[in-house]
């Protein structure tokens, strides 16, 4: 059972500086694909390196399979890591790169070669690549060698640090699926770090969203999308991002876009209890439905981005200086300059506390 636990794990780089990772509590079950996602500086890579043993902990502990590994060196943790820049050994052949860890463990040459070949086959790496040096390979091939190096070890935990970020867009989409499928097949607990929320949503069993060293929310992708616990998660997950705007409260709802948008009573009650005069309103682009005739919001189209199947409308709402993005289906979107009206279902509306960002629950 290769579970992974972060127990109040912390890392501070300088005295009196804000912690890079602040008392992280995270439990990962055996065989789970856990994605750590967040903007740069969120602490996700630091957290991964703490699990790897490449960063010391300044507080708390890390456990693998229930065992406290906080002070155990990387090589004794039975983990394998794929680095962002692959970190392949430049003077060694592909085969030697992949077999290096086994060599360190004292595995015999024939056995090493057998396992290397197996891993190569799993990753679609041609046999004739095995004798080449990393500098002779393409970016995608190098990435697969880096993965192969990790797979060959059959470790308890896979650690991956943004392994797709150096690939071009098309290759990234392809490889993303391959990695997810590979993990499913091998069933090895995986901790995967990325700044790309699309990767996080498509690959992870569960996703942990971090910001400034703090864990914001850990949940399935679907739940993160439908039930973000705060403004940060709401705005981070989903592309294009949720429309967020601070709006004043009025009777029955909020004042926005030239009219009053009705809010569900539960939200209004929570806001009143907190004594708020305004709150942050969140509406996802696909929840702004183009309405012919009457609608809740009015605005002028500034820009239309055609995506093929649908399009994104950038609209300046009446009386507001900022813009919202709406997703419009159909073959004939409005044109720039055109006035449009939107209808919003009350239950699609999110509301957040203007100071703490916490979700004002319904």
């Amino acid at each position: 059972m290769a579970t992974v636990n972060y127990v109040a794990a912390s890392r501070v780089y300088a005295k009196d500086a804000p912690p890079a990772v602040d008392a992280l509590n995270l439990d990962i079950s055996d065989g789970e694909f856990m994605v750590l996602v967040g903007p740069s500086g969120s602490g996700k890579t630091t957290a991964l390196r703490m699990l790897a043993g490449l960063e010391p902990l300044d507080g708390g502990r890390v456990e693998i399979e229930g065992r406290d590994v906080t002070w155990i060196p990387p090589k004794d943790r039975d983990i394998a890591m794929v680095f962002q820049n692959y970190a392949l050994y430049p003077q060694k052949t592909v085969a030697d790169n992949m077999g290096f860890a086994l060599k360190m463990q004292g595995v015999h040459k024939e056995e090493r070669l057998r396992r290397v070949r197996e891993a190569a086959r799993l990753l679609d790496l041609d046999d004739n690549l095995l004798d080449r040096k990393p500098r002779q390979l393409s970016g995608g091939q190098r990435q697969r060698v880096a993965m192969g190096r990790a797979i060959v070890r059959e470790p308890k935990v896979f650690l991956m640090d943004e392994p797709l970020s150096n690939l071009d867009a098309k290759l990234r989409v392809q490889t993303r699926a391959q990695i997810a499928e590979l993990q499913r097949r091998l069933g090895i607990t995986t901790v995967y770090v990325t700044h790309d929320q699309v990767e996080a949503m498509t690959m992870g069993n569960r996703v942990a969203v971090l910001s400034n060293g703090h864990l914001q929310q850990v949940d399935t992708p679907r739940n993160l999308y439908d039930n973000p616990v705060n403004q940060f998660v709401a705005g981070f997950i989903g592309s294009p991002a949720m429309n967020l705007q601070t709006v004043p409260l009025t009777d029955g709802g909020v004042q926005v876009g030239g009219s009053t948008l009705p809010l569900p009573p539960a939200i209004r009650r929570t806001a009143a209890d907190a004594g708020l005069k305004e709150l942050v309103l969140g509406i996802r682009p696909e929840h702004l439905h183009l309405a012919n005739g009457s609608g809740d919001l009015t605005g002028d189209v500034v820009l239309v981005e055609e995506l093929g199947a649908d399009s994104l409308l950038h609209v300046r709402l009446a009386g507001e200086s900022s813009q919202v993005v709406a997703r419009a289906e159909g073959r004939k979107p409005p044109v720039p300059g055109q006035q449009v009206k939107f209808h919003v279902e009350p239950e699609d509306v999110f509301a957040f506390h203007p100071d703490t960002g916490a979700r004002l629950a319904g």
Binding site: A8, S10, G59, Q216, Q217, A358
Partner: protein, 295 residues
Amino acid sequence: MTAPAAPAPAAAPARVTTKPARRPRMRELSGQVGWGIVAWVVGIAFFLPVLWMVLTAFKPESAAETWPPQFVFRPTLAEFRLVFAGWGPFVTHSIIATVVSTLLVLLLGVPAAYALSVRPVKRWRDGLFFFISTKMLPIVAAIGPLYVIALKTHLLDTIWVLIILYTAMNLPLAIWMIRSFMLEVPGELLEAARLDGAGQIREISSVILPVISPGLVSTALICVIFAWNELFLALNLTVTNAATLPMFLISSVPQEGLYIAHLSAAATVASIPVILVGWIAQRSLVRGLSMGAIK
């Protein structure tokens, strides 16, 4: 269901409350300290002869040739005074030969390096190899004929023979180093300059030289070191009118009598300029020796 979430991303960070484990830090620290001790021992051992040289320079002759060697004594500047009384022409010649030859090296070397890197000639490999090959041929082999040539051209025992030869001696290494520094200039910078209408000369002076100026400093430093310290050519081709500091040093060893303290003082004075310059511009020197020579 949503797992318990941390507080919202407000500005105030939570305090790190759990106690950091202290155990392995001890091992880490003691390993570091042990390493440091070994390094210091090595450093001091290597530096010891220099320290001894400087120390002995302050001794009166009577205290310089004792057994056991003295570490505590009454320091005197007598030997230094003697050295400074006699070194005048020698140090002047050394300075002139070193500075002028280094300037010449830079003057000739920068364009040559340019023609072997940024806008290379077709057979730049051969060019580079030729320059290096001149260093491989020992100058000693030609010393007899060099003397004859110097004699016949009336350059014998003049500062110019040294300047000319030191320049030739340092050019190959200088070209190699400057070239590798030029190769580090980002291509985009040069392209932007060309788009802005810069010709070759402007390209060199306005774009390349400023960027590689630290590299030029290290190259100049290395040339200064080799020129200042050079003995063989000075010994063979100069007598009195252009004798340099190394020659002065040799003359401080008389046929008889006590001389160790005087010798140490002369050695210290002769070496101090380069040592000080090397220490101060250490980073530059290290960069030159290691990075400049690598590519």
